[in-house]
């Protein structure tokens, strides 16, 4: 896909504090990219720089091939959806949505028609004459969305737009936004600290940590093939164990843990024996049995605790050296604490993380 937005070696300091460090990122037209990271990781700052609310200390931001560093916000043609909606309280819903069109000098009749269509799109046609204060949070966020889309901006920027909504509404809005993205072919940059939100909606996820992008890839890539320990731990839950590569044979490597235990893991790319690595094993990949299994890796351990969580069964495993967490299917049998079990997983269920 053609590159549409490019961050070229962006650095941003707030005083002496470096919030974004020498960052490169390309976004294609029509792509939905999530910037995911803990608070203070620089993701929002990057979005604010793209919107023009902040300017980079160094580096260039290019949109459609031309640098926008010196273009003021109001001429960047980007729709921004804020976490706190930022609706104008003294205007009705219809006036809020008409605002960007009026600022662009769109004819009155045309404005009315486009406002009507935008309201239809977010299913709020009946509320055009209400004031934002008379709407629920979810409705307000839909108005904010309609307002950011009605002028057909080149890019839509969303700064944790669903953060203030309750879980059920948030999940509904996630699907709605994803649907809009597909239907309208929008280019969306979406900031969130909620990893499941990022995985649900995005074409690609950029995982931020301390002002850098740790990894960028499809939701499947960042979840299944975390490149760094931070990504493995931040996205989803994982079991991380430390070890040393003992041998590499084709697509598999044997890692010896500190306890002397050996685990065989799939490996991609070059890996030299002798180096220290981390192994990431997703809890849902672990199977439990009371007898040793056929799998490549099989650890003898003991159930410390078992919690029924509705959609899955969460089992805390404990042996002398390696605490593990396993997520089992809700229909699997429950092991009472103290049961001796074997935790089994294939080599493909492990992921080697280079230091």
């Amino acid at each position: 896909m053609a590159e549409f937005i490019r961050f070229d070696r962006i650095t941003k300091f707030f005083g002496a504090l470096c919030v974004v460090e020498n960052l490169d990122l390309s976004i294609a037209k029509g792509e939905f990219v999530s910037l995911l990271g803990p608070s203070g990781s620089g993701k929002t700052t990057l979005l604010m720089m793209l919107a023009g609310f902040e300017s980079p200390t160094s580096g260039a931001i290019l949109v459609d091939g031309s640098a926008v560093n010196d273009v003021p916000t109001h001429r960047r043609d980007m729709g921004v959806v804020f976490q706190s909606y930022a609706l104008f309280p003294h205007m009705t819903v219809g006036e809020n949505i008409a605002f960007p069109l009026q600022m662009r000098g769109v004819a009155r009749a045309d404005t009315a028609e486009r406002v009507r269509r935008a309201l239809d799109m977010v299913q709020l046609s009946a509320l055009a004459d209400r004031r934002p204060s008379q709407l629920s949070g979810g409705q307000q966020q839909r108005v904010a969305l309609a307002r950011a889309l009605v002028f057909e901006p080149r890019v839509v920027l969303m700064d944790e737009p669903l953060g203030a909504l309750d879980k059920q509404l948030r999940e509904q809005m996630q699907l709605d936004i994803r649907d809009l993205h597909r239907r309208l072919g929008l280019t969306i940059v979406f900031v969130t600290h909620d990893q499941s939100e990022a995985l649900t909606m995005s074409d690609r996820v950029a995982v931020f940590n301390k002002g850098r992008i740790e990894q960028i890839g499809t939701p499947r890539q960042v979840y299944d093939e975390p490149g760094t320990r931070f990504v493995a731990e931040f996205i989803g839950e994982t079991n991380l164990v430390e070890g040393v590569v003992e041998a590499v044979e084709g697509q598999e490597a044997t890692v010896r843990l500190a306890s002397g235990l050996r685990i065989v893991s799939a490996v991609t790319g070059d890996l030299a024996p002798g180096g220290p690595v981390h192994l990431s094993i997703r809890p849902e990949r672990i199977q439990l049995a009371e007898t040793p299994a056929e799998q490549r890796n099989c650890l003898e351990t003991e159930v410390a605790d078992s919690v029924y969580q509705g959609d899955h069964l969460r089992v805390q495993l404990q042996n002398a050296v390696h605490p593990l967490v396993a997520k089992l299917d809700r229909r699997s049998r429950e092991f009472p604490p103290g049961t001796k079990v074997y935790a089994a997983f294939s080599s493909g269920d492990c992921r080697i993380i280079r230091p």
Binding site: A51, G52, F53, P72, T73, H74, R75, R76, D77, M78, G79, V80, F82, S84, A86, L87, F88, P89, H90, F99, P100, M103, R104, R131, P132, S133, Q134, R147, A148, F151, L157
Partner: protein, 392 residues
């Protein structure tokens, strides 16, 4: 619930000082001001018998002997020269010629050796109904003369409202001037106060505190001290003129004192806090992301200000303007010290009537005019702010 009456009584007792204060310093002064402005007992007090007789008079026919006798009796009974003077002044203002007529009459009545038979024999003017009409009109204990005079109106012989002749019409000029100066001061306060409040609201920490303290500090200084300070600053040899000349912006001293410019500068400074604080307090309640949102939607900063920030802070501007304007129309010290003769405001006239000429009726009437203007402004403001649609 047996304890509730005592509880009510106790809470009323707690509120009693407040009620006493309100009555002593708010209700009573207002009441006495209004009653002074409409009461008119200077004539009635001295002429009780004439009042009885004149009540039966048809107001057209020549005076009857009974009326003359009653008036003579009343006049003979007067022993208070000051009260007599008040009455004569009051009657003379209604019918010119009364002063000479009265002094001639009282002199004749005082002559006990040769008591006059009736008033007409003292002076032929006592035959004319106009003079009796003036007395009859002045006998009512209530009058609108002062209130009408406060806005340069009066009643003619038939009792219809008319404009006073131009040489007596100063109040309206001064009222208009008062409102004009107050409006200019309000405007100047908006022009300086709005940006000031905007900057203060956009800053944080000690910078904001410093800016607010700079506004509040003058409030803790006496008005007289502040005005006196301006008196020094604005002089021809004052700091401001010295600076302007040192910067070679002017050749000679700019006249800043004893004129309108000085009055407006000093009043704006004194009243600025009342503009800055309400605007500031509305500005800080406006969410900080509305202006960025407007910018992202394509609004130039100036249009964003006009469409978003200004409408949302209009309530603050309105309350600030109301405070400043209402305070300004009552200003006395600043125009008196810094203004010229052409810059005196209505309060100076009130002070003149109250202190200078002891005409409490006129002082009260002008006070009522000010009070009515203030109440009107406030009701307009209340109406406007009530119509403002609900905000989140």
């Amino acid at each position: 619930m047996s304890g509730s009456p005592t509880r009510t009584g106790r809470s009323l007792l707690l509120l009693a000082p407040l009620f006493a204060f309100l009555v002593a310093f708010f209700v009573w002064p207002l009441f006495s001001m209004v009653s002074q402005s409409v009461s008119d007992t200077a004539v009635l007090r001295l002429l009780p018998h004439s009042a009885d007789v004149l009540a039966a008079w048809d107001r057209l026919s020549p005076p009857s002997p009974a009326m003359q006798a009653a008036l003579m009796e009343d006049l003979r009974a007067v022993d208070d020269a000051q009260a007599l003077g008040d009455m004569v002044r009051r009657l003379n203002s209604a019918q010119s010629g009364f002063r000479t007529l009265m002094s001639k009459t009282t002199t004749a009545l005082a002559d006990t050796d040769d008591p006059p038979a009736d008033l007409v024999s003292i002076d032929k003017r006592w035959q004319k109904p106009e003079f009796w009409l003036a007395i009859a009109n002045a006998l009512s204990p209530l009058t609108d003369r002062n209130l009408l005079a406060a806005v340069d109106l009066g009643r003619d012989a038939q009792g219809a409202i008319e404009h006073l002749p131009p040489d007596e019409s100063v109040n309206r000029v001064i009222l208009v001037r008062t409102f004009w100066i107050s409006a200019l001061v309000t405007l100047a306060c908006i022009c300086i106060g709005y940006p000031y409040a905007m900057i203060a609201a956009s800053l944080g920490g000690w910078k904001r505190d410093l800016m607010l303290a700079a506004v509040l500090l003058p409030l803790w200084t006496s008005l007289l001290v502040r005005t006196a300070a301006w008196f020094i600053l604005l002089q021809e040899q004052g700091l401001i003129n010295d600076l302007l000349q040192w910067l070679r912006l002017t050749d000679g001293p700019v006249p800043l004192i004893f004129n309108r410019t000085g009055v407006i500068i000093a009043m704006t400074h004194v009243l600025l806090p009342f503009m800055v604080l309400p605007i500031y307090s509305t500005l800080i309640t406006i969410p900080g992301n509305l202006m960025p949102a407007a910018a992202s939607l394509g609004a130039h900063p100036f249009r964003a200000f006009l469409r978003v920030l200004l409408p949302l802070s209009l309530r603050g501007v309105a309350s600030g303007s109301l405070l400043v304007f209402i305070s300004a129309i009552g200003y006395y010290i600043t125009p008196a010290l810094i203004g010229g003769p052409g810059d005196q405001m209505i309060s100076s006239i009130i002070a003149f009537y109250a202190i200078g000429s002891a005409n409490w009726g006129m002082a009260g009437a002008l006070g009522v005019v000010l009070l009515v203007a203030t109440l009107l402004l406030y009701s307009v403001y209340a109406r406007l702010s009530a119509e403002e649609p609900g905000r989140s």
